[in-house]
C-alpha cells in the first residue's frame, strides 16, 4: 500500500508571531520555519506503517514556495521515500490545496492519505475533509490510533469528551491529532540519504488547478495587551473596586 502524506511549511510553533507594522501580514523576516507539527506527526505515522511492513512507499507532498523543499527534505530524512513539491507563491486556501492533492491522488493511487488535522498558521481544519469529499474516499479525522487491517483501517478519533473508534474502508483520508505519536529526530545519516531521494516539482497549473484566493486578507493585528494588575491596600478597597470599578459584585 502506498501512503501519501501532505506537509505544510509554517512558522515554527515556538516562535512568537509578530504582525507587520502596516498590518498587511504576519512578519516572516528572519523567522524560523518548520513542518506544521500535526503534519510531522502524520509523516511519523506513515514511516512507522512502512517500518511495520504495512506501507510499501511513502510519498510526501507539500504545496508552497520553493523553500518548502526544506520541509519535504526533512520528511524524507524522517523516512519518506519520495517528494513532490507543488510550487505556488502566496497564500493557498484549503480548497485549492485539496484540489491539487485530489489530482495527485488520481496519479499516485495511494491506499491512504495522511494529513495533519490542521495547520497552525491558518487553523482552518478543512483540507483533509475537502479532499475526502473530492476523492470520495472514506475519512477519519483527529486520529490518535491507526490500525490497518485487510482493506480497511481502525481509527480512534479524539472527540469532545472522549474517544470514538471507526472502521473505514481503504483508500481513506486520515488526519493526525497530537497524541497519535511522538515524531523522531532526523539523524544526519538520514539527512544525507534524503538529499539523494527523488523530489519532483510541479505547479498547480500542471495539475489543472487555479490556486487564486477566494477570500481577501484585510488586516493582521496582534491581540490586545493585557493590562497589568494592581495591588490593593486592604479587603475594603478590594470589595470597593470589585463593586464600583469591575462591577462584578
Amino acid at each position: 500500500m502506498k501512503i501519501l502524506v501532505a506537509v505544510k511549511r509554517v512558522v515554527d510553533y515556538n516562535v512568537k508571531v509578530r504582525a507587520k507594522a502596516d498590518g498587511s501580514a504576519v512578519d516572516l523576516a528572519n523567522v524560523k520555519m518548520a513542518i506544521n507539527p500535526f503534519c510531522e506527526i502524520a509523516v511519523e505515522e506513515a514511516v512507522r506503517l512502512k517500518e511495520k511492513g504495512i506501507a510499501s512507499e511513502v510519498v510526501v507532498v507539500s504545496l508552497g514556495p520553493q523553500a518548502a523543499q526544506e520541509q519535504i527534505r526533512t520528511a524524507l530524512a524522517l523516512g519518506a521515500d519520495r517528494g513532490i513539491l507543488v510550487q505556488a507563491e502566496g497564500d493557498l486556501e484549503p480548497l485549492a490545496i485539496a484540489k491539487c492533492l485530489k489530482k495527485i491522488c488520481d496519479d499516485e493511487q495511494p491506499g491512504m492519505v495522511l494529513l495533519g488535522k490542521q495547520a497552525i498558521d491558518g487553523d482552518n481544519n478543512q483540507t483533509g475533509q475537502m479532499l475526502a469529499a473530492l476523492t470520495g474516499f472514506a475519512q477519519a479525522t483527529f486520529a490518535s490510533v491507526i490500525t490497518v487491517e485487510e482493506g480497511s483501517a481502525k481509527v480512534t478519533r479524539e472527540i469532545d469528551g472522549g474517544l470514538q473508534t471507526l472502521s473505514i474502508k481503504l483508500p481513506a483520508i486520515v488526519t493526525a491529532d497530537l497524541r497519535l505519536n511522538e515524531p523522531r529526530y532526523a539523524s544526519l545519516p538520514n539527512i544525507m540519504k534524503a538529499k539523494k531521494k527523488q523530489l519532483d516539482t510541479v505547479t498547480p497549473a500542471d495539475l489543472g488547478v487555479d490556486p487564486a484566493a477566494r477570500t481577501k486578507l484585510l488586516k493582521v493585528e496582534p491581540p490586545a495587551e493585557r493590562k497589568a494588575g494592581i495591588k490593593v491596600a486592604d479587603v475594603a478597597q478590594l470589595v470597593d473596586k470589585l463593586k464600583n470599578e469591575a462591577k462584578v459584585i
Binding site: Y13, I35, R73, T74, A77, L188, P189, I191
Partner: protein, 462 residues
C-alpha cells in the same frame, strides 16, 4: 549588631529594616545548603546614596555587611552565617536609561536578569547572558560573580557585556567606572576588578551593559562519539563551518542518568543500537544552505570522529535536545554528588580527563565519576557520586581528599578550580592554598585599598 537597627532605619526607613528571624532567614543563604542562615539584620536601601550611608555607618561601628542579589549562587558568596547585616538591593530594580545609538542599557543592580533580557527584546535587541536561574538572579550578582551560562562560547560571560559600573566601595566612595564607554584608555580599568569580586570590594549599584542584535534561528545537533578527543576535533571543525553558540559535553553515564530520571528517550533510540561513550551538543545559526551541515557531517564521519548525529527540525526538538544537557545536574542529585566546576585550556582537556580518571580509579576505586559541561569553554563539571548504600557521612569524610586530588591536578595543569561558580565560602580555603603567595598578596592589597576595615563580605574569597 541588632543595636544598630534604629540607625539603619534612619537611613532606609522603618519598613525596610527586617528584624524577625523567620523573615530574615531566606536573605542569609544562597543555593548552597552547607550553612545555616544567621543574619542580624536585613537592610533594604532604595538608592546608591542610601547604600553609601549604610557603608559609612558600617565603617564607623565595624559592622560586617553581606551584599545580596538574587542569592542563586552555588558557592556561598551571599551567605550570612555569622550575624552579619545583609544589604539587599532588591528594591533597586529600575531600568534607568536605554541608549539606542549606543545599544546599551543602564539599570540598577537589583534588576532580575530575565527582566533585562525581556527589556532588550522589547527594543528588538538581545542580552546574551543566560542560565538556569536567570528568572531569579540579579544583574548586580551576575556582575559580582561574572556569571557565565550557556552562551559564553559566542558572547563571553558577564564581563564581556559590562561597559560601566557605579559602585560604592567598602570605604564608602562612590565610583563611576568606565562610564558606559566603548573606548576609554585612562589608567587601570577598575571596572574589571569589581567584575567577579564577589562583594569583597564594595557594592555594585548600577550597571551599564551592551546589547546585541538578536541571533538568527538556531539549530541544535547532538552527536555521539567514542572519545572526548574526537569531540574536540568535531568542535574545531564545527567552529570553521558554522557559527556556534554552544558546544556542550555529556558523558554516557550522565546521559543514562537523564534518560532514567526524566523518562526522556535517547535521541539515538531509533538509529543506534549501542550507546556511545560520550555525546556532544552543538547549537549554531541555522545555515542558509542545508549543504553546510551535511558537508560538515560527512567530514566528521570520514575522519571517524562521530558515530551518529541528530539535528533538530523545530524549536520544540531544540528544546528537547537541550533538556538532555540541562537535566544532568538534577538527574544526578539523588546520588548526592561531590561537584567540581573546573576549567583547563582546551588543548589540555583530553590529557586532563585521562589523567584524572586514572588517578581517581587508583585512589578511590569504589567511587564513580561523571563528566559533563561546557566543552567549548574548557569548563567541565566533574561529579563524583556517592556509592549506593553509603551514608552521606561516610561519603562526606572522603570529600576533602577527593576534591584535593581533583584540584591539585587542575592546578598542576594550569587550570581553574572554579570556572564559573566563584569562590565564596565554599572554595575560600582551597583557593588560598592553591594560589600561593604573590597573587594573593595583590588581592589583599586591592581589598585593603577599597575596603580598609574589611566590612564587605568578610571571610569570603580570600
Amino acid at each position: 549588631m541588632k543595636q544598630f537597627a534604629e540607625q539603619f532605619k534612619a537611613i532606609v526607613g522603618d519598613k525596610n529594616v527586617i528584624t524577625s528571624k523567620a523573615e530574615m532567614a531566606p536573605y542569609g543563604i544562597d543555593r548552597t545548603t552547607l550553612w545555616q542562615p544567621n543574619p542580624s539584620l536585613v537592610v533594604r536601601p532604595d538608592s546608591i546614596e542610601q547604600v553609601q550611608q549604610i557603608v559609612l555607618l558600617a565603617n564607623q561601628h565595624n559592622i560586617p555587611l553581606v551584599p545580596s542579589g538574587g542569592r542563586t549562587g552555588l558557592s556561598g558568596g551571599a551567605v550570612a552565617k555569622d550575624g552579619e547585616v545583609v544589604v539587599t538591593l532588591e528594591r533597586m530594580k529600575r531600568i534607568l536609561h536605554y541608549s539606542a545609538p549606543d545599544q546599551t542599557v543602564t539599570c540598577e543592580a537589583g534588576v532580575i536578569t530575565q527582566h533585562l533580557q525581556q527589556f532588550a527584546e522589547q527594543q528588538g535587541l538581545f542580552y546574551p547572558v543566560d542560565f538556569a536561574s536567570s528568572g531569579s538572579s540579579h544583574i548586580g550578582g551576575n556582575v559580582a560573580t561574572n556569571a557565565g551560562g550557556i552562551r559564553v562560547l559566542r558572547y563571553g560571560g558577564t564581563r564581556e557585556q559590562v561597559l560601566g559600573l557605579k559602585v560604592v566601595t567598602g570605604n564608602g566612595d562612590i565610583l563611576d567606572l568606565n562610564r558606559g564607554l566603548v573606548k576609554n584608555n585612562c589608567g587601570p580599568d577598575l571596572r574589571h576588578l569589581f567584575i567577579g569580586s564577589e562583594g569583597i570590594l564594595g557594592f555594585i549599584c548600577e550597571v551599564t551593559v551592551r546589547l546585541q542584535p538578536p541571533p538568527p534561528p538556531q539549530s541544535v545537533m547532538v552527536v555521539s562519539a567514542r572519545a572526548i578527543t574526537d569531540l574536540l576535533e568535531v568542535f574545531q571543525c564545527s567552529r570553521k563551518t558554522v557559527t556556534l553558540s554552544a558546544f556542550e559535553f555529556i558523558a554516557q553515564q550522565a546521559m543514562d542518568a537523564v534518560t532514567a530520571h526524566t523518562g526522556q528517550h535517547s535521541p539515538f533510540k531509533n538509529t543506534s543500537t549501542t550507546p556511545a561513550p560520550c555525546y556532544g551538543l552543538l547549537e549554531f545559526d541555522t545555515p542558509n544552505k542545508a549543504n553546510t551541515i551535511t558537508d560538515f557531517f560527512a567530514q566528521c564521519q570520514q575522519q571517524g570522529w562521530i558515530d551518529d548525529a541528530v539535528i533538530s527540525q523545530s524549536e520544540r526538538q531544540s528544546k528537547e535536545l537541550w533538556q538532555l544537557r540541562e537535566n544532568v545536574s538534577e538527574s544526578l542529585s539523588p546520588h548526592k554528588p561531590l561537584k567540581h566546576d573546573v576549567a583547563v585550556r582546551m588543548e589540555k582537556l583530553p590529557e586532563f580527563i585521562a589523567r584524572m580518571e586514572v588517578k581517581l580509579a587508583e585512589e578511590f576505586p569504589q567511587l564513580q565519576s561523571v563528566w559533563f559541561g561546557h566543552l567549548g569553554d574548557g569548563n567541565i563539571h566533574l561529579n563524583v557520586l556517592k556509592p549506593e548504600g553509603w551514608s552521606e557521612q561516610r561519603f562526606g569524610e572522603l570529600a576533602t581528599e577527593v576534591s584535593g586530588l581533583v584540584y591539585r591536578l587542575v592546578w598542576e595543569m594550569g587550570g581553574s578550580i572554579s570556572a564559573e561558580h566563584g569562590v565564596g565560602l565554599l572554595k575560600q580555603r582551597i583557593l588560598g592554598r592553591q594560589v600561593a603567595g604573590t597573587e594573593v598578596k595583590h588581592w589583599l592589597a586591592a581589598r585593603n585599598s577599597f575596603d580598609a576595615h574589611s566590612v564587605m563580605n568578610r571571610g569570603k574569597v580570600i
